[in-house]
Symmetry: C2
Subunit: 191 residues, 2 copies
């Protein structure tokens, strides 16, 4: 609980997230992780209680960030289109701050044990809020009357895949990316 051991623990978690992104949770062994940190596998257990504990800390913290961000967006009094743009920014910001962790959130959530139901609850609520926002936008004629499910699917999968793409564009400003992405996703690409 002292600051030094917290730092070491966080170092383990961020190293694990990097390895999980490359090969997935199941294919990364505690020996791989220890080796990447320059220590032996047994030494990891002085800082974390299990491999599962690492995955849980990576995924749940990000999922809760998304929930908090979504709640603050839907409570604001912006237009529905404006709220969609804020969701784009939310994804860009969280992904830029934790690119590796986003890979685990997307690809390894099914390996959660005790926290699986909690994760699924947060995800379902997030998607329900997203869908309601699009439906409201359609009813106020801000958004074209297409299938709201297809609109949400298209936007959300693009935003969820940002972790694959952001590290390649380190020189790109988060605000610029949010802006460009909003234009493409909302205004379309054809002239």
């Amino acid at each position: 609980m002292n600051p030094k051991s917290e730092t070491r623990k966080e170092e383990i978690i961020s190293t694990a997230a990097k390895l999980f992104k490359e090969k997935g949770y199941s294919a990364v062994t505690m020996r791989d992780l220890a080796s990447a940190m320059g220590i032996k596998a047994a030494s990891l257990y002085n800082h974390i209680s299990s491999k599962q504990d690492i995955l849980k800390k990576i995924i749940i913290s990000i999922a809760e960030e998304f929930t908090a961000g979504m709640n603050s967006i839907i409570e604001s009094d912006s237009s529905n289109i404006e709220k969609l743009k804020q969701i784009v920014s939310l994804h860009v910001d969280i992904t830029a701050n934790n690119t590796n962790g986003m890979a685990s959130l997307n690809n390894d959530w099914m390996h959660l044990e005790e926290q699986l139901d909690y994760y699924l609850q947060l995800r379902n609520e997030y998607e329900a809020n997203f869908l309601r926002l699009i439906q409201k936008g359609i009813s106020t004629s801000e958004i074209k009357d297409n299938s709201p499910e297809i609109i949400m699917f298209s936007m959300l999968t693009t935003l969820r895949s940002l972790y694959l793409w952001i590290p390649k564009k380190e020189d790109l400003d988060a605000k610029d990316l949010s802006q460009s992405l909003s234009v493409v996703l909302i205004e379309g690409i054809n002239k």
Copy 2:
């Protein structure tokens, strides 16, 4: 090589694809796979040579389908926007025919061994063709002058994630879905 053993082999591969979609290649054991087929793990080896062999057959066959489809699209004499719509249909059709396999293609390609370089070559060529098509569309003023990389990223990640969504919409016609998705991706969502 006789028809009956080919059928049994294909049964193993499609069962494996289903399990790989649920938990990922690394987390599925040969005992899991055998159990899902109602036999013992050792019996699998009468039909396939290794676990890796199963992954290879799932991924490479789909990757080659995409390559063939892309080549036939870029060689046609449609407009660039029309070609983009044909790419949408290509993804919808392949995903509808092999939803489980698409999960492995997206998430387990890094576990390929001998075939990894070949897979990456096919993927890079596919993305290069996609990007060139968008760049041509911009130069002919069919497509807005946004970043072609962002446009490709947005379209391609949505299309690559279709496997997550198509099984939930079994009642939906492939042609309808391609049409709706093309509208959302190309014309945007705002009025």
